[in-house]
Amino acid sequence: MVGFAGFDMPVQYPLGVMQEHAHTRTKAGLFDVSHMGQVILRGTSYEAAASALERIIPMDVQGLQPGRQRYGLFTNPQGGIQDDLMFANRGDHIFMVVNAACADADIKYLRAMLEPDISIKHLENRALLALQGPRAEAVLAEHHPAIRDMKFMDVETLPLAGAECWISRSGYTGEDGFEISVPTAAANDLAQALLAHQDVEFIGLGARDSLRLEAGLCLYGHDIDENTSPVDAGLSWAIQRARRAGGARAGGFPGAERILDELTGGAEKKRVGLRPQGRAPMREGVLIFADETGDTPIGAVTSGGFGPTVQGPVAMGYVPTEVATAQTIVFGEVRGKRLPVEIVSLPFTAANFKR
């Protein structure tokens, strides 16, 4: 068990990181992610809440259809990233899931920026479970057949094991899967009902990290933070056309000047996939050099470890845009030795979503 944002969380269950990882990629892994912050934004209508939220995130919130979800970023006035989140149009309100470590700061920030016209409710009576992997659909469909009709990033309200669940077809593993907000009082029963299926195993933080790393997904506070812009981070895809230069509601969010500039002109650095050529893992903080002898690092690893599906070390980090080309060889310094690393495009393992 390790402490994380005030929660005790297991790094691994009895299977161990390697087998938990493989189980999620081949069957279905159950994750207790109740530490994540669940928030409801409510205005006089969805549109009112959406237009308020657009003042602080560079996403097209108004154009999001009912029953759909998007990935979003809170940006700061310098164009950096304050947190990343998922947000959904649930008909008459917005439902958001934010990072545990940022939740209190996010709520404070939302209150300062959006109230009094928008009510902001931090839901502390709901747990969050994720069921991820190629068997997730079949397992959940045994509890409700409408699961099969959902597509990637759809959201639905359905009863599961007797509890009203808010379900999205999304996740943090690169696999098809679902995230399920369930009343805390019913969470244990639901988890046990899912675990009773022979294809489902509980998965800890260790495999959660190796799965998202192979999937090329950012971890806030590591791969993205207040100093990295969405363009640096390779997250330009998350900024829809309506919010870009020439769009219907261009700009008007914190840091718009830098971010809109970078969307057209490019950024100075870029997040890339890094594939060490040897077997030694390169973890967060490993410095990247252009060659074997130069004194000045050109970048650093922001997440790294062993990729159980890749069967070798994998990492992500930032390098200057001019060297951020696939197949370029750079060097990571591990215990005083410069080891060759190939820059590769992300993800390391192909996504397996049901579009």
Partner: protein, 119 residues
Amino acid sequence: MKFTEEHEWLRIEDDLVVVGITEHASTQLGDIVFVELPEEGDTVSKDDEVVVIESVKAASDILSPLDGEITEINPALEDEPSKVNEDPMGAGWFFKIRPSDLSQMDDYMDEAAYNKLIS
């Protein structure tokens, strides 16, 4: 066989000592994905960092339990670091050392004392 508080085992084999980590240590470390061994011929001192073990969780240093010369390393660990999990007391050995002062062995625990330590 002798054991250190750092969860290494030491087995005398003629005039050499074979070193590895215990079952307890390999379980605690989790799945091992990389082992960096010293070079054959290296002269090491007791408490030098001679081996780095990377598991899926973290990197850990292994200290030399003795002064001496590394005479052989386990070549299988380069391609199959998981041997340390599968057979830590056997095929997962790390290196053989020719001790310059065999009396350093006296500082270490016997199996009964080690089992007490980890119980």
